[in-house]
């Protein structure tokens, strides 16, 4: 099971600001290890987010996104007590979903 993300969602003036820290190597596939072998590419390809079961945001990523990715966006709407859910899927087909309550 992949490592958990850290999600913070705060509602203010009709906008819910979502800030996410994901735990992922985001390996480019360009690096060599100490033995000289290429470290295979391993990176998040897709990110989706929902506010209370409604899809609000999606993104496609490549390995130029930094390791332990940070991602922030603003949902129009949302209020304290709502649930923000975020899912990522990587190029190995591994996936992780975490939820957070909007404060």
């Amino acid at each position: 099971m992949a490592n958990p993300m850290r999600i913070r969602a705060a509602a203010k003036d009709g906008i819910t600001e979502v800030r996410i820290l994901m735990n992922h190597e985001m390996e480019t596939g360009q690096r060599r290890d100490s033995a000289g072998a290429i470290v295979p590419a391993w990176f998040i390809q897709e990110v989706t987010a929902r506010l209370n079961d409604k899809d609000v945001m999606s993104a496609q990523w490549g390995p130029s996104i930094a390791k332990n990715p940070y991602f922030a966006f603003k949902i129009k709407g949302g209020k304290a007590g709502d649930t923000v859910s975020v899912t990522w899927v990587d190029n190995r087909g591994e996936s992780r979903t975490d939820n957070a309550k909007v404060t």
């Binding site: 490592n3 820290l21 735990n23 922030a72």
Partner: protein, 274 residues
């Protein structure tokens, strides 16, 4: 004669003015660069990947482990069993139960042994970046996060604490290794830097605080979380010293020197570095 002198003087004045503009130009460039880098550092602070390690450390703190199948939740970090909040800001300190001055990481080892029954030799010997050390770093990150914004309270008043402080100071100035380096070589004078990194003057309160209050820290360049023991270990490597034993008295002494010199400053852990 007077006219020629006047013209010459004017020419010299003009030359100085141009030179001054040039210098001011360079100074302005340095200023802009410094501001830019500060903006970069600020942008990194919101969403510090160290938080991922705090989460992992909290899980480890609460997870039963070892032959005694116990968690670390009764570990005494100096403020009483199980009190984590504010504990990092008051370390290193003297502990009566072990009759030693200890820093956070040596105290974590003590608790793993006494509460969980784990033989921590493998943890001590493990290389940084391997699972056993990762556990200790995550635990240290978690504990340090609960001292964020707390004042450093390390007065080194107990005689054993004072002795450690003095030992740490001696070690700080002790030249050794093939390059005859000491900690002071980099950190013993104001205004030093290596490429883009300013080197804090550790014997002074401000410099000591710059170092002591910001580790454990996430190093973006390596994508790794480093504890203070790791930072000290790497300093020894950079000085071409023999590798220090993890959480040994010498490393605790150096920590005591830094922490007590930084007494009164504010903990900003976990930090984030380039």
């Amino acid at each position: 004669m007077a006219a020629r002198t006047g013209a010459a003087v004017a020419a010299v004045v003009a030359a100085i003015a141009v030179a001054a503009l040039g210098v001011a130009g360079v100074a302005q460039e340095k200023d802009d660069a410094a501001k830019s880098i500060e903006a970069y550092r600020q942008a990194l602070k919101d969403g510090n990947p160290a938080e991922l390690f705090e989460m992992a450390g909290e899980e480890l703190w609460k997870k039963p482990a070892g032959p005694r199948n116990a968690s670390l939740e009764k570990c005494d970090l100096g403020l009483g069993p199980g009190v984590v909040e504010g504990a990092y800001a008051q370390l290193p300190r003297y502990f009566a139960d072990t009759d030693r001055v200890q820093d956070l990481e040596s105290r974590l080892l003590t608790c793993m042994e006494t509460l969980q029954g784990i033989d921590t030799r493998a943890h001590v010997e493990a290389r940084f970046g391997t699972p056993r050390k990762d556990e200790l770093v995550a635990l240290a990150t978690y504990v340090s996060g609960l001292s964020k914004d707390q004042p450093v309270k390390v007065a080194a008043s107990h005689p054993r604490e004072r002795a450690m402080f003095e030992l740490g100071r001696r070690m700080f100035y002790f030249q050794a290794g093939p390059h005859d380096f000491s900690c002071a070589t980099c950190h013993g004078e104001e205004g030093r830097r290596i490429r883009m990194q300013d080197l804090p003057y550790i014997p002074g309160k401000e410099g000591a605080a710059a170092g002591w209050t910001s580790w454990p820290a996430y190093r973006v360049s390596a994508g790794q979380m480093w504890s203070m023991q790791w930072r000290i270990n790497d300093c020894f490597r950079q000085q071409r010293f023999p590798e220090p034993v993890y959480a040994s008295d010498m490393t605790i002494a150096l920590s005591m020197f830094m922490a007590a010199t930084a007494n009164g400053s504010t903990m900003a852990t976990p930090g984030i570095k380039r």
